[in-house]
């Protein structure tokens, strides 16, 4: 019998510290698979965030440099300007990229910085203990929105990807999920496309991935996936948000 599925080489053979059913685990593998399939291990440089994925450098077998909370896009800018031929990607959660790091991200996109942001959106702060995120949906209970999020008091779920699509420097933005095999295939395709567009030098790229956080949603892993599929997507619809390589729409944004 032939082995048809196994661990990608760019993922170090160490067990994850993540909770059961965590989307980070799936997404790490997806990114590692894309890096391996594209054969870019030697030019890939990752920038892990603050948050649950802060230890990502323990898992990816590529060069990595850690950023402060929210500063991934700025740090990646510095790396990319020195090493313009390398593949530079940030890996950031919703709090990191869409709250504390909004400015850095918007302006990196606006400069058309040739980096890729992998944006993991699970609607909640994971590592700090389930607090409200910029992407927490209305009515969702968190440890800092105990009665559920109320828009005109706590703010509304922030659609960062749509905001970034408006900037002239962004080239490719897609939202996917990792809650099903089809979602995982779509995510992998999107990450690959973002990397390719980055290497072609067309501009800023970002893949937002809706991801289950069973622990902080206080659900079983499968329930958490269904919650993403049925509730979260109402605020964060899946699909390509901007693609300057597409024949018709998207280009007109330029």
């Amino acid at each position: 019998m032939k082995k048809v599925f196994g661990r990608p080489k760019t993922l170090k053979p160490v067990p994850y510290h993540y909770c059961p059913g965590c989307g980070h685990s799936l997404l790490h593998r997806i990114v590692a698979e894309v890096i391996e399939e594209m054969g870019v291990e030697e030019i890939a440089i990752g920038v892990p965030p603050a948050g649950c994925a802060v230890l990502a450098y323990n898992y990816f077998d590529v060069d990595m440099g850690e950023a402060a909370h929210g500063r991934g896009a700025a740090l990646a800018t510095g790396v990319k300007r020195v090493l313009p031929d390398h593949l530079v990607f940030t890996y950031q959660g919703d709090g990191d990229i869409a709250a504390i790091g909004t400015a850095e991200t918007v302006h990196a996109a606006n400069r058309g910085e040739r980096i890729t942001c992998i944006f993991v959106n699970n609607a909640v702060y994971g590592m700090t203990g389930g607090q409200m995120a910029p992407t927490t949906i209305l009515g969702q209970t968190t440890t800092t929105s105990p009665g559920g999020r109320v828009g005109n008091r706590d703010g509304f779920p922030l659609n960062l990807s749509e905001m970034l699509a408006v900037t002239r420097g962004s080239a490719y933005i897609e939202r996917t999920s990792v809650t099903s095999p089809a979602g995982i295939r779509a995510t992998k395709k999107a990450v690959r496309k973002a990397f390719e567009i980055q290497l072609k030098g067309l501009g800023f790229t970002l893949v937002e991935v809706l991801s289950p956080c069973p622990t902080n949603l206080k659900m079983s892993p499968i329930e958490a996936c269904r919650w993403v599929d049925t509730e979260m997507v109402n605020y964060f619809p899946l699909g390509v948000i901007k693609d300057v390589t597409a024949p018709e729409e998207g280009k007109n944004a330029h």
Partner: protein, 76 residues
Amino acid sequence: MKGSIKIDSSQCKGCAFCVEACPNGVIEIGAKRNAMGYFYAVVKKDGAKDGKGCTGCTLCAVMCPEVAIEVYREER
């Protein structure tokens, strides 16, 4: 097409994504705990529904967050 899977029980955290993903119901959460305290996924002993076994479709491995499943398929 015949296939088989190998589950690394020491890495499994019992999320049951694979159980849900398998179209032929080949996998279940077993009765034994691993060192981390999780009931881990195992291949059912008496096969699956409709007598179909593992086809090596890889859906379970695709959904496995822990990269704990290896999939093998018979070569044609």
